[in-house]
Amino acid sequence: MADALALTGPSSFLREKVLLGMGWGEYLRSLLTPANAVAAVILVVGLPLLAYRFAAGLGATTALSQAYPWGLWIGFDMMTGIVLAAGGFTIGASVQLLGLRDYHAIERSAILTAFLGYLMAVIGLLADLGRPWNIVQAVFNYGSASPLFEVAWCVMCYTTVLLLEFTVPFFEWMGWRKLHAVLKKTLIALTVLSVVFSTMHQSALGSLFLLAPTKLHPLWYSPFIFIFFFISAILAGISMAVIESSISHKVFARQLVGKHVDVDALVCGLGKAGAVVAFAYFFIKLQGVIDGHAWGHLATGWGALFLVETVGLVLVPSLLFAWGARNREPAAVKVAAVLAVGGIILNRLNVSVIAFNWTNPIRYVPSWMEVWVSLTLVTLGVVAFRWIVNRMPIVREDPAFPQGHGEETP
């Protein structure tokens, strides 16, 4: 997109905006890093694999079966991808609506992560759908009794909202002042929409499993599963913001020269919120066990898996968040965030793949091609994130737009 524009624009645009002020030779040499080499290997195999899936069909590429219609591409790419992108609405709402201005420093990276996360989830979904060309049918046929109808509409609308939110730094990069001013004014409304759509589809992803009472293990099946999914989405948003902001401000440190963002203070503040939300999540998961009379299952192997998820990766991070925030130990908060994210990934995989069809002696194990395609999508997201952050005012501030990264003028 940017390259195409550069061809028609002045030659200095390509050099300054896309090649980071370098000539072609110098720029290409700068790409020869070990991280890029790993990414290249993954993509060189993964992108042809995606093409192969469309040419050869699901049967040739996946381990899906009549008993396991949903595998890794739904369980990881879709379920996990969407929940880990919840930082976009969580941090967006904190800054724009609750007025927690300090978190402005991480708002744009949270929104960019969310936007790329949703794009990758949608690509994963298109790979998983048997008849992806029929996805437009969701616009014309109202399967309104289906939670998936709600998910489809909200993901469609929210990805558009994220795209619009992302255009603010994009227009700053392009230097399009008029459009930038228009979009900047809509940010409040876009943030409200992002919360509305996220509340609906993050919870509806859980509602999907309400229709599988005989297939999902009783420790995970609950009439309240949509509330579990929503609360854990907020926890994922907070935890991902901790992880992202610590990584971005380390990896992109040179962009922050002369600008003092106290990342440790932000991380500890997020830790406080994480402690409360993680404990609330643990508590309602406990209510789910009580309500489902599922105590007896705790003594089984499934119970062990459930305890690893809810005690090891929800309760423990909750306490660690609280301890780290109270004693101003950002390292502890970061460890807690990694654990909590692990717990949420495990939860989504448990619900959609591992504890699904739990009475069936035949288990689903993803094919190597499924794993590789998922890995490819994650890599694509990371590469796109780096490419954009190195060019657009995401972590740093654009000098031409002094208000661009600060609070809006009253």
């Binding site: 069909g57 609506l97 992806p132 009794a145 229709l211 949509f226 009253p410």
Partner: protein
């Protein structure tokens, strides 16, 4: 807290605007009511001889490959993307063989239709639960939702379809019986109105009390099904799925699906209120800085 008129209008405008956009995603009305005289089939497993004529007629009517004549019925079989009905065998009370036919149950409130986001899987007002490949996006949520594990997928094809028994809806529309019931030589399959068949099933159970289990399989399963079974051996032994809720599956998601209207109408004003509050707080702080 003082709010200027301009500020109020801004808040109100954004609230109304977001409300409208979100309302655009609101759901349409529920499906058309189903004919109370909808068709059903009564399967009397004590009368089935296991001749598998129904399997052959089904394959022919649906243009599927002819059934494997050498299949061992005592090893549990399942329907597939090429086979819409199978006969399974179990041992009766005194050692004699018992048979049960497996196919789509044509639920009164089908979970697959509740699951389908594009109504490719739908219950016709006349009763049968049918599939329209031209609408289907291939999400396979119907397979996740069906407690009887009936919808099967053509993973091997480039344009895969969901495949299952359609209750010979076209034959029924032309005034004919489904292919399977029309060829049953022993009276194990009776086609008729579901309400009448349910009465007949209960009449047989009470008239020959020592023969049958006192339960009609399909009367309440998943909210009730068009296919009804009576038997003298437990239904799970005949490879029929059990243990599902007795409520219609649509009720399982009704609560969660009732939330969006509230989210769409309550979130925007609440969030805009929080915004107005935090903005006012900033302004006061700013004024105090100026004066102080």
């Amino acid at each position: 807290m003082r709010l200027t008129r301009r500020g109020f209008l801004k808040v109100a405008g954004v609230t109304a605007g977001t409300g409208l956009v979100t309302a655009a995603t609101a759901r349409a009305a529920a499906s058309a009511p189903v004919d109370p005289g909808q068709p059903g089939v009564l399967v009397d497993t004590t009368r089935c001889a296991g001749c598998r004529a129904c399997e052959g007629a089904c394959a022919e009517a649906n243009m599927n490959p002819a059934p494997d004549a050498a299949a061992d019925l005592s090893v549990q079989r399942d329907t597939s993307q090429h086979v819409f009905t199978v006969i399974n065998q179990a041992e009766g009370p005194s050692g004699e063989p018992r048979f049960a036919k497996k196919q789509c149950m044509h639920c009164l409130a089908p979970a697959c239709a509740s699951a389908c986001p594009v109504r490719a899987m739908d219950k016709l007002p006349s009763g049968p639960v049918v599939y329209d490949a031209s609408r289907c996006m291939g999400c396979r949520y119907c397979m996740v939702a069906c407690a009887f594990d009936i919808p099967k997928y053509e993973y091997e094809r480039a344009a895969p379809r969901v495949r299952k028994c359609g209750f010979c809806a076209e034959r029924q529309a032309a005034g004919l019986e489904p292919a399977c019931t029309s060829v049953c030589p022993t009276g194990a399959l009776t086609f008729g109105r579901r309400t009448a068949l349910l009465e007949e099933a209960k009449r047989r159970i009470y008239a020959e009390g020592s023969t049958y289990l006192r339960r009609v399989y399909g009367e309440h399963e998943a909210g009730g099904t068009s296919w009804l079974y009576i038997s003298d051996v437990p239904f799970e032994k005949l490879a029929l799925a059990t243990g599902m809720p007795e409520r219609p599956y649509s009720e399982l998601v009704a609560g969660a699906l009732g939330a969006p209207p509230f989210i769409m109408t309550l979130w925007p004003p609440l969030l805009m209120g929080l915004y107005a509050f935090s903005k006012r707080r900033d302004q006061i702080e700013e004024q105090e800085d100026h004066h102080g």
